[in-house]
Amino acid sequence: MCDIDIHPDAIGRLPGELDRLRGRVARAATLPAPDTGATATATRSAIGAITDLAAALVSDTTRLGDDLRQVLRSYEQADDNVAFLVRSLGGGLP
C-alpha cells in the first residue's frame, strides 16, 4: 500500500496534540533534589536520572511530531505535483 494513503485534515491535527503533551511533560520535568539525609547524594543522582528520562520522553515526542510534519509536507508536495500533471494533461486534451 502506498504511504500517500493519508487523510491530511485528520493527520494534520496530530502534531499540535503532540506538541501540547510534550509541553506538559517539559513544564513538569524540573524537579528539586530534596535533602533526604544520609541518602542525599543518591537522591540527587536519581533526580537527575528522572530528569533525563523525562527529557528523553520529550525528545521522542518531538521527533514523532516532526516526523508527522515531514510526512504532511511530502504529501503536499506530491499533491502539488499531481495537480500540475492534471493541469498539464488537461491543457493538452481536446
Binding site: 496534540e17 530534596p34 528522572i50
Partner: protein, 369 residues
C-alpha cells in the same frame, strides 16, 4: 554525648514528592494521549510509513506509562521517607524530654552518653530509657533510608534500560593509523596547509623534514573535504616518517628495486587500514595510486642529469609516501568523522591529491635552493 540530630528535611521531601507527582500525572496523561494519537493516525493513514509511526508512537507511549508508574512509586516512597524521618525526630525528642524531665542537664542537640555517678536511681532509669529510645529511633532511621535507597535503585534500573551508558570509547581510527605508521600522536601534527606552504622555504632537506605542531582543527562540522585537505601535512609527515627510514635503504638499491619496493610499501599502508570496515576496496585502490605517483616522479627525474640515482629514488619515495599517507589519512579522517562509505574514497582522493602536491612543492623548494 549522644547526638539527636536527624539528617534530612521531611518538609523538603514532601515538597519534592508533590512535584514528582505532578510529573507522574503529566507523563501518565502523555501515555494516554500518545495511544490516542496512534489510534487516530492508524484510522487516517495507511502504509509502511504509517506502520512505522504507529510502532514508534506505541513504544514512546509505553515508555511514558512506565515512567509514570515509576514516578508514582517514587512519590509514595518519598512521602514514606518523610513520614519516617518525622517519626524518628519525634522519638529522639521524646528521649531528650525524658532525660530533661528527670533533671539531667543536656547539651544542645544531644543527651549525655554515660550516666553521671552523682545521679539518683530515677535519673539513671530515665537515661537508660532514653538511650533505648534513641537506639530504636536510629534503627528506624536506618531502615527508612535503606527502603528509600531500594526505591532509588528502580530509578537507576529504568535509566539504564531507557538510556544505556555509552560504550567505552574505542581508540580512534586516526590513532590506530598513527600507530600503524609509527607517527607521533596526531594532535601535535595536525595541520594547516597554508602554514606549511608558508614555511616551505625554511624546511630542511629530506629525510629530516619535520612539520610544525599545529592545533587540532575543529571537527564539529563535517566539511570533510576541506579537513581532509587540511590534514595533508599530517599525512605527508606520516608518509615521510614511514619512508624516511626506508629511503636510505632504497637509495642504495637500483631503480628496478624501487618498483619492487613500492608495492610493498603500498601493501603495508593497506594492511594498516585493513581493520577499518568503512574503508572499501575502491578506497584502498587509491593508496595504490600513491605508488604510481612515486614511480611517475622517478620517471620524470630520469630526464634530469643533475640528480643522482639515489636522489631520484629518494624523491620518488617521498612523493609516493606523501600520496599514500594523504590518501590513507584522508580516508581515515573521513571515517572518523562518520562519512558514509561511498564518500570515503573521495576523501582518499582529496588527501592523496593534497599529499602529492604538497610533496611536489617541497621538492620544488629544495630544487630552488
Amino acid at each position: 554525648m549522644i547526638d539527636l540530630t536527624v539528617d534530612g528535611s521531611p518538609d523538603g521531601c514532601r515538597a519534592a514528592a508533590r512535584e514528582i507527582a505532578v510529573l507522574a500525572e503529566a507523563t501518565g496523561v502523555a501515555g494516554g494521549d500518545l495511544a490516542r494519537v496512534r489510534e487516530r493516525a492508524a484510522d487516517h493513514w495507511q502504509g509502511e510509513a504509517a506502520s512505522a509511526f504507529g510502532a514508534r508512537a506505541s513504544e514512546v507511549g509505553e515508555d511514558a506509562e512506565r515512567l509514570a508508574d515509576l514516578l508514582r512509586f517514587l512519590t509514595v516512597a518519598l512521602e514514606a521517607l518523610a513520614r519516617r524521618l518525622d517519626q524518628v525526630a519525634a522519638r529522639l525528642a521524646d528521649a531528650r524530654s525524658r532525660v530533661g524531665a528527670a533533671g539531667i542537664p543536656c547539651p544542645p542537640g544531644g543527651i549525655p552518653a554515660v550516666p553521671d555517678p552523682a545521679w539518683d536511681d530515677a535519673q539513671r532509669a530515665a537515661h537508660l530509657h532514653a538511650v533505648v529510645l534513641v537506639r530504636a529511633a536510629r534503627d528506624d532511621e536506618r531502615w527508612a533510608q535503606e527502603a528509600w535507597l531500594r526505591a532509588l535503585g528502580s530509578v537507576t534500573e529504568a535509566h539504564r534500560r531507557v538510556l544505556p551508558p555509552a560504550a567505552p570509547q574505542q581508540p580512534s581510527l586516526l590513532d590506530r593509523l598513527g600507530d600503524a605508521v609509527s607517527v607521533r600522536p596526531l594532535p601535535d601534527l595536525l595541520p594547516g596547509l597554508g602554514e606549511v606552504h608558508d614555511r616551505l622555504p625554511d624546511l630542511p632537506d629530506l629525510p629530516d623534514l619535520d612539520l610544525p605542531g599545529i592545533d587540532m582543527p575543529d571537527l564539529d562540522d563535517l566539511r570533510v573535504l576541506r579537513q581532509a585537505v587540511e590534514a595533508a601535512p599530517v599525512l605527508v609527515s606520516a608518509g615521510v616518517r614511514a619512508l624516511a627510514g626506508r629511503a636510505a635503504t632504497l637509495a642504495r638499491e637500483a631503480g628496478s628495486e624501487l618498483v619492487r619496493a613500492a608495492p610493498d610499501l603500498a601493501r603495508r599502508a593497506v594492511d594498516s587500514i585493513d581493520d577499518l570496515p568503512t574503508v572499501p576496496t575502491s578506497g584502498r585502490a587509491l593508496i595504490g595510486m600513491g605508488v604510481s605517483e612515486g614511480i611517475e616522479q622517478y620517471e620524470d627525474d630520469l630526464a634530469r642529469d643533475d640528480l643522482t640515482q639515489h636522489e631520484r629514488i629518494g624523491r620518488a619515495a617521498f612523493v609516493g609516501g606523501a600520496t599514500v599517507g594523504g590518501a590513507t589519512g584522508g580516508m581515515a579522517l573521513c571515517s572518523e568523522l562518520g562519512v558514509t562509505s561511498p564518500l570515503v574514497p573521495l576523501c582518499g582522493a582529496a588527501g592523496g591529491w593534497a599529499g602529492e602536491h604538497l610533496s611536489e612543492a617541497v621538492l620544488g623548494a629544495i630544487d630552488a635552493r
